[in-house]
């Protein structure tokens, strides 16, 4: 459902005892209702801080939430109109350590999605637990969409074969920008490279970004893939199915 943005007034004047949550329009756990002005301020503030300190992942997340008001509904509609995407919206799978059977995935053959995903997590020392839950999205279905986008990000790395260093992240951002249209991705893609050396910039500009863009444009929506049901599928075959060109 949709919420009216809150104006920070308390409700529940019927004198109910016990705790009344300050989230009077709270749509999902962790939701903080915000007015348009607050969203604008958050967007501006988080953009500045994220640029200044790219390790403030929470600010990148907030930027995504506050600027996604056009892109998120588009993504949701794309998902709704696709059989697998629709399935995901219904079941709302989450990629977390508690839902993943790491042992089984590790046991899968090399080259399969599951095995490569686990290898990616180990090589880069990341964990699926580190994704921030959404706070400022005022629609709980869209909150799930952005959550799914965040959790699928590591799988993007796996599919594109990109590591989690600055260069790899920028390439993935270009791909995601084309795929999702989220302003946060576009900003990340545009401003991420400022922190790279010239040599890396060259590689980025001549090979990686054009490839990422071409793949992004060619591929069908990556959120429409029920990854949890495809762990056994070879990465190559999934790439082909989606329309991602082989990495350079």
């Amino acid at each position: 459902g949709k919420a009216r943005p809150s104006h920070s007034e308390p409700r529940g004047r019927d004198g109910r005892g016990g705790e009344e949550e300050e989230g009077w329009h709270q749509l999902y756990p962790g939701h903080i209702p915000t007015s348009p002005l607050q969203k604008a301020l958050l967007a501006a503030g988080s953009a500045v801080v994220a640029l200044y300190d790219p390790y403030r992942h929470d600010m990148v997340a907030v930027l995504g939430e506050t600027t996604g008001c056009v892109a998120l509904p588009n993504l949701r509609d794309k998902m709704k109109n696709h059989p697998e995407g629709y399935h995901i919206l219904q079941e709302r799978p989450r990629i977390r350590l508690s839902t993943l059977d790491m042992a089984r995935l590790q046991g899968l053959p090399d080259g399969s999605l599951g095995r490569e995903y686990v290898r990616f997590l180990e090589d880069n020392k990341v964990s699926p637990e580190t994704r921030m839950p959404p706070k400022f999205v005022d629609d709980e279905e869209l909150a799930y969409v952005i959550q799914r986008y965040r959790e699928v990000h590591d799988l993007m790395h796996t599919l594109l074969g990109m590591p989690t260093n600055m260069l790899g992240e920028v390439v993935v951002k270009w791909f995601e920008a084309v795929q999702t249209g989220l302003p946060m991705c576009i900003l990340g893609a545009a401003f991420g490279p400022v922190r790279l050396s010239t040599r890396k910039l060259q590689v980025l500009a001549t090979e990686l970004v054009p490839w990422a863009i071409r793949s992004g444009l060619n591929a069908s929506c990556v959120l429409n893939v029920y990854y949890e049901q495809r762990w056994e599928q070879p990465v190559e075959s999934l790439r082909e199915e989606l329309g991602i060109f082989p990495p350079p």
């Binding site: 308390p10 005892g17 949550e21």
Partner: protein
């Protein structure tokens, strides 16, 4: 567009909650935590958690939210106190030490002036008299003044101690973990009691005031610096707008903590206004109770004497 803006502004700063604003004294087990309703114990717990999480960014946030003006407020408090060397100060909810450090600086400079005057006076003394004065005077830069910083929250004290070390404050300063409602000190001990931006977070303000009275010496002074109520309607609207729209955003962007700063602005609205606080202070036994508004009532300093 103007109509929309006016409506927006009206909605955003509508003080409709004031109709049901609950005051600091708990009537029964239900209390306020910002705009929520909780039990006394829950409130203490929640407030502890708020300050635990904001402790490290407390000073940065204060500067950002008040654009540095909080420093001026604290300076004014110190000037009002006008402590002389030898004063024993208890700073309750003193957390990160802002008042304590200012006290030390103030007393040090007064002491310096005292010593300078003495030196000037000494120019005309006989050798014998000068010799005798060296025996008496401990060249104590603080003149035996001392400040005890008391706070209920370990994290805040930790930050305060680190700051003291970093800034080079060691003499005349001690840190005590304690609850304003039940102070770990004997009766009639201190010359001055201060509580700056802390009494708002105390669950039973009446108890804190009683304790303040108890630990002060006869002749001692109570000083409270706290956010208060703006009576000017236009300013009040602007202040509300800023508080509710900007401050939580600052909290999220700078400290990654929206909720604590939402609590902050709500707790300010819940706190008794100037006259009511004055009455509460008088009820406990203080005399010559008065208050001074700073910045049109955004902040007020309440003062009282134990006679």
């Amino acid at each position: 567009v103007r109509l929309w803006w006016c409506r927006c502004w009206a909605l955003l700063s509508r003080p409709a909650w004031r109709l049901r604003a609950r005051r600091g004294l708990a009537a029964g087990p239900e209390m306020h935590f910002g705009f929520q309703t909780v039990t006394e114990e829950e409130r203490r717990e929640k407030i502890y958690q708020v300050f635990e999480s904001v402790a490290k960014k407390y000073d940065v946030m204060n500067d950002s939210m008040t654009l540095g003006i909080h420093r001026v407020w604290k300076d004014i408090l110190m000037h009002k106190m006008n402590p002389s060397p030898g004063t024993l100060l208890l700073d309750v909810a003193g957390g990160t030490g802002d008042i304590a450090f200012r006290f030390i600086n103030y007393v040090r400079s007064v002491r310096e002036r005292q010593l300078q005057r003495k030196l000037k006076h000494h120019q005309n003394l006989s050798w014998q008299e000068i010799f005798e004065s060296y025996q008496k005077d401990k060249f104590n830069s603080l003149g035996d003044s001392q400040v005890v910083v008391c706070d209920i929250n370990r994290e805040m004290l930790k930050v305060g101690k680190q700051k003291a070390q970093h800034l080079g404050y060691s003499e005349g300063l001690s840190w005590v973990l304690g609850n304003a409602e039940e102070l770990p000190f004997d009766n009639d001990k201190f010359d001055v009691y201060t509580i700056a931006f802390g009494i708002r977070n105390v669950t039973r303000i009446d108890l804190a005031l009683q304790e303040a009275y108890r630990v002060l010496k006869p002749g001692g002074r109570f000083l409270c610096l706290e956010f208060s109520h703006v009576s000017n309607p236009l300013l009040s609207r602007l202040y509300d707008l800023y508080s509710f729209q900007v401050i939580p955003v600052l909290g999220e962007v700078i400290a990654g903590d929206w909720k604590s700063y939402q609590y902050l602005v709500e707790s300010i609205r819940r706190f008794p206004p100037q006259e009511e606080l004055k009455a509460m202070i008088e009820d406990v036994g203080f005399f010559k109770v008065d208050y001074e508004n700073l910045n049109f009532g955004i902040v007020a300093i309440h003062s009282g004497f134990k006679l």
